[in-house]
C-alpha cells in the first residue's frame, strides 16, 4: 500500500495564550514533516526539553488533539478518516498510547486487570471473557509478568516499573502497528529504566510494533532508537538515523542535550545558559535557539534557518551548516 508507516506533512499546531483580545498565539508545533519507512520496524525517539512541543506532536498522532494545519498519515491513511465514529475502533487497534505517569494512568479504585479486559473486549479482540483471559495471559508473559501476579490487584500494590509494564501490555493487546510512548521512563528509577527500554527493543523485534518514544533523556534514546528527531520550541531542528546523529551531533542544541546527560567519568566544565521563559522564546524571531547558542551569529537572530541535508536522511535546521547564508 503506502510507502511510509508514519508520514507527517507540514504539521502545525497553534495555541492561544493569554486574554481573549490581547492574547498571543504560539506555534507549539511548527511545520514539522517526518516520514518513516514501512519495510522494517523502527523506534523513533522525539527528544527535547520541556516545552519543546514533543508532547503536542505525540498527542496529535494519537488524535487527542486536532492539528491547526498539516496532515498525518498512518500506513497511508490520513488520520481524518478515523474521525468518523465507525472507524474509531479501527484507529485504536492500530495506534496505542503509553503515558508518562503509571500511577495516574490507572484509577486507584479499579483492579488493573479491568483495563486489560476492557481493552480486549471493547475493541473486539476477544468475544468472551475466557478468550480474553488467554490472550491477556500471553501478552503479560511477553512483558515479563505472570497473569496470577496481576489479576485482582489494585495499582497501589505494584511498583512504578511493574505498572508501566502493565501499561505496555494493555497497549499491546490490540496488536497495534504503532505505539506512542510519552516519557514512559521519566517516573522510573534510573536503575530500572533499562528494563523498560529493553522491553521496547524486544517488542519491536517480536511483535513488529513501531514505537514513537518521546523523551528528554538522550542516553536511553540512543540506546534503543533507529531514528531520532530533536525538537526545540516547536521546530524539528534535527532528524536522522540515531547512530549518525549521536556519534556526530550536529545541531548545537543536540550537542547541548548530549553534553548535559549526567555521565560517569566526565565532569561538566562549560557553563550553560538556561532557557528563558518559554513564551518569550516561542515568539523570538529567527532561530529560536540563537539566544543560547554558542555559535550564533547576527543572521541567526534575524532569520529562520533553512533545512540542510547533511547525508542521506540526516536533516538539520541550522545556519552553521549552510555557511550562515540565507
Amino acid at each position: 500500500m503506502a510507502d511510509y508507516m508514519l508520514e507527517i506533512k507540514n504539521l502545525t499546531r497553534r495555541f492561544k495564550i493569554g486574554g481573549m483580545i490581547l492574547g498571543k498565539s504560539i506555534l507549539a508545533v511548527d511545520d514539522v514533516s517526518i516520514s518513516l519507512p514501512k519495510d522494517k520496524t523502527w523506534i523513533m525517539s522525539v527528544v527535547g526539553e520541556s516545552g519543546s512541543g514533543k508532547t503536542t506532536l505525540a498527542r496529535m498522532i494519537l488524535k487527542l488533539l486536532e492539528p491547526s494545519s498539516g496532515k498525518i498519515f498512518i500506513d497511508g491513511i490520513p488520520l481524518s478518516y478515523y474521525s468518523k465514529k465507525d472507524h474509531r475502533k479501527e484507529f485504536y487497534k492500530k495506534v496505542q498510547p503509553i503515558f508518562q505517569n503509571p500511577f495516574s494512568t490507572f484509577s486507584m479504585r479499579k483492579t488493573v486487570d479491568t483495563y486489560l479486559y476492557e481493552t480486549a473486549l471493547n475493541l473486539d479482540i476477544a468475544r468472551t471473557r475466557d478468550e480474553a483471559t488467554e490472550h491477556i495471559r500471553d501478552i503479560l508473559h511477553s512483558v515479563g509478568l505472570e497473569f496470577e501476579q496481576v489479576t485482582g490487584k489494585y495499582p497501589n500494590q505494584f511498583s512504578g516499573g511493574e505498572l508501566q509494564r502493565i501499561s505496555i501490555a494493555r497497549a499491546l493487546i490490540t496488536k497495534p502497528a504503532l505505539i506512542i510512548a510519552d516519557e514512559p521512563v521519566a517516573m522510573i528509577d534510573a536503575s530500572l529504566r533499562m528494563n523498560i527500554v529493553n522491553l521496547f527493543k524486544k517488542l519491536r523485534n517480536e511483535f513488529n510494533v513501531n514505537f514513537v518514544y518521546v523523551t528528554h533523556d538522550l542516553s536511553t534514546a540512543y540506546y534503543v532508537s533507529d531514528f531520532i528527531a530533536t525538537m526545540y520550541r516547536g521546530n524539528l531542528i534535527e532528524f536522522g538515523p540515531a547512530k549518525e546523529l549521536l556519534s556526530r551531533p550536529s545541531h548545537p542544541y543536540t550537542e547541548l542535550l548530549l553534553d548535559s546527560i549526567p555521565k560517569v567519568g566526565v565532569k561538566w566544565d562549560r557553563e550553560i545558559i538556561l532557557p528563558d521563559i518559554e513564551t518569550k522564546e516561542y515568539s523570538a524571531k529567527g532561530c529560536k535557539f540563537a539566544a543560547r547558542c554558542q555559535y550564533a551569529k547576527d543572521v541567526c537572530h534575524k532569520n529562520s534557518p533553512p533545512v540542510t541535508t547533511l547525508e542521506e536522511g540526516h536533516k538539520i535546521l541550522c545556519f552553521k551548516y549552510c555557511g550562515y547564508k540565507i
Binding site: S50, A190, L192, R193, V197, N198, S260, I261, K263, K267
Partner: protein, 321 residues
C-alpha cells in the same frame, strides 16, 4: 557538622511497623556535598525527613539519634539534637522536599513566600531592605529581578526550582538537605540546577546532602556518597572511589545499569524487587537479588567492613578477600 548514631526510624501502620531506616550511622563533614543514592522505596527520603526533624505520626524514631552542629540566636556554636533542630529550621538547616516546586503557594507572589519564611526566624525586619537583598541574591543565582513579583505559574519548572533553592539557602544555613532536586526536570535544566547547587555550596562553604536515584547526578556533584538499600546504608565512601572501585555488589550493579552514549552493548537493569520492609529477610537484604550470594548471606546480616579509613561497605564477600 552532622552525625547520625545508629539511627532507626519506622512507620507505624495498623498491621505493624515498616522499618524504613535501619541502623544507619554516618557523618556529614563541613564543606562537602554528601550524596545518598538508592532505588525508590529504599528509605532515602525517610532518612532525610528524620535528619530534618520532620518526624510526626506515623513516622517515629525507634532508636539512635541525630546531632547537628549549629549556632544559636546569639551566634554561639551549639550541638542540636532531634527535637531542637526544628527550632532552627531555615537558620541552621533547610530542606528542599521532593517536588517542592509543585507545592509553592499558587496565589502568592515569590516575594511574599520569602517574607513568610524569613518571618519565622526574625519577626522585625525591614521589608524594603529585605526586598533589595532578595533581589540581589536572586541575581547572584542568575534569576532575573522580575521573578520576585511573579506568581509561581508564570515561571518554568527550572525557574521555580531555582527560586526554591534560593529560598532554602537565603539565610545561609549550615546544612542544606535536598530530596531529588532535579527529578521531573529535563536534562539541560537539571544540569543548570546542579551546577548552581555546587556553586552555592562552594561559596557558602556549608554542607549539603543530596538524595537522588540517578548515579550520574551523584558523580557530577557529590564529594562523598552513601548507597542505601532496603533501609540500610550498605556502602559509604568518596564518590570517585565508589565509581572507580565499588565494593558492594549492589553498587556495582547500580553503576553498570547506566546507559552510555557510544556503548550499544546490552545493558540490564537490576532484576527483581527490594524486600518488604515490614518483615525483612534475616540475612543480607540484597541476597535475593545478588548474583554472588552464598548461604551465609541468606542467614546472617553482614557487618560493616572498613576498606580504608574513608570507605566502608557491608558485605560478607569482603571478609573472604
Amino acid at each position: 557538622m552532622m552525625r547520625l548514631n545508629n539511627l532507626s526510624a519506622r512507620y507505624n501502620i495498623l498491621t505493624g511497623y515498616v522499618n524504613a531506616v535501619d541502623n544507619v550511622s554516618f557523618e556529614v563533614m563541613d564543606n562537602e556535598i554528601f550524596g545518598i543514592a538508592g532505588e525508590s522505596g529504599c528509605g532515602k527520603s525517610t532518612l532525610l525527613k528524620v535528619m530534618y526533624d520532620l518526624v510526626s505520626y506515623p513516622l517515629e524514631i525507634s532508636d539512635g539519634s541525630v546531632e547537628i552542629g549549629g549556632k544559636d540566636s546569639s551566634g554561639k556554636a551549639v550541638i542540636l539534637k532531634t527535637g531542637e533542630i526544628k527550632k532552627s529550621w531555615w537558620r541552621n538547616i533547610s530542606y528542599i522536599p521532593q517536588g517542592a516546586m509543585h507545592v509553592m503557594n499558587p496565589v502568592t507572589k515569590v516575594d511574599t513566600q520569602f517574607y513568610d519564611a524569613i518571618s519565622k526566624q526574625n519577626c522585625n525586619f525591614n521589608k524594603k531592605a529585605l526586598r533589595q537583598e532578595i533581589i540581589n541574591y536572586l541575581h547572584e543565582l542568575e534569576l532575573p529581578a522580575s521573578v520576585i513579583s511573579a506568581y509561581p505559574h508564570q515561571l518554568s519548572g527550572g525557574m521555580k526550582q531555582r527560586v526554591i533553592i534560593a529560598l532554602a539557602t537565603f539565610l545561609n544555613p549550615g546544612i542544606v538537605l535536598a530530596d531529588e532536586p532535579t527529578t521531573a526536570l529535563d536534562v539541560v535544566v537539571q544540569r543548570g540546577i546542579l551546577t548552581m547547587l555546587s556553586r552555592v555550596q562552594r561559596k557558602m562553604k556549608n554542607s549539603m546532602v543530596i538524595v537522588s536515584h540517578d548515579m550520574g547526578v551523584h558523580y557530577q556533584i557529590t564529594n562523598r556518597l552513601g548507597i542505601m538499600y532496603a533501609g540500610q546504608m550498605i556502602e559509604i565512601g568518596p564518590t570517585e572511589e565508589i565509581f572507580s572501585t565499588p565494593r558492594h555488589p549492589y553498587t556495582q550493579m547500580l553503576i553498570n545499569a547506566l546507559p552510555r552514549i557510544g556503548d550499544l552493548n546490552q545493558k540490564e537493569g537490576i532484576p527483581g524487587t527490594p524486600p518488604s520492609l515490614k518483615n525483612p529477610p534475616p540475612g543480607c537484604r540484597f541476597a535475593a537479588r545478588c548474583p554472588k550470594a552464598t548461604d551465609l548471606c541468606r542467614v546472617k546480616q553482614p557487618e560493616v567492613f572498613q576498606i580504608n579509613d574513608r570507605h566502608q561497605a557491608s558485605c560478607h564477600l569482603l571478609y573472604d578477600l
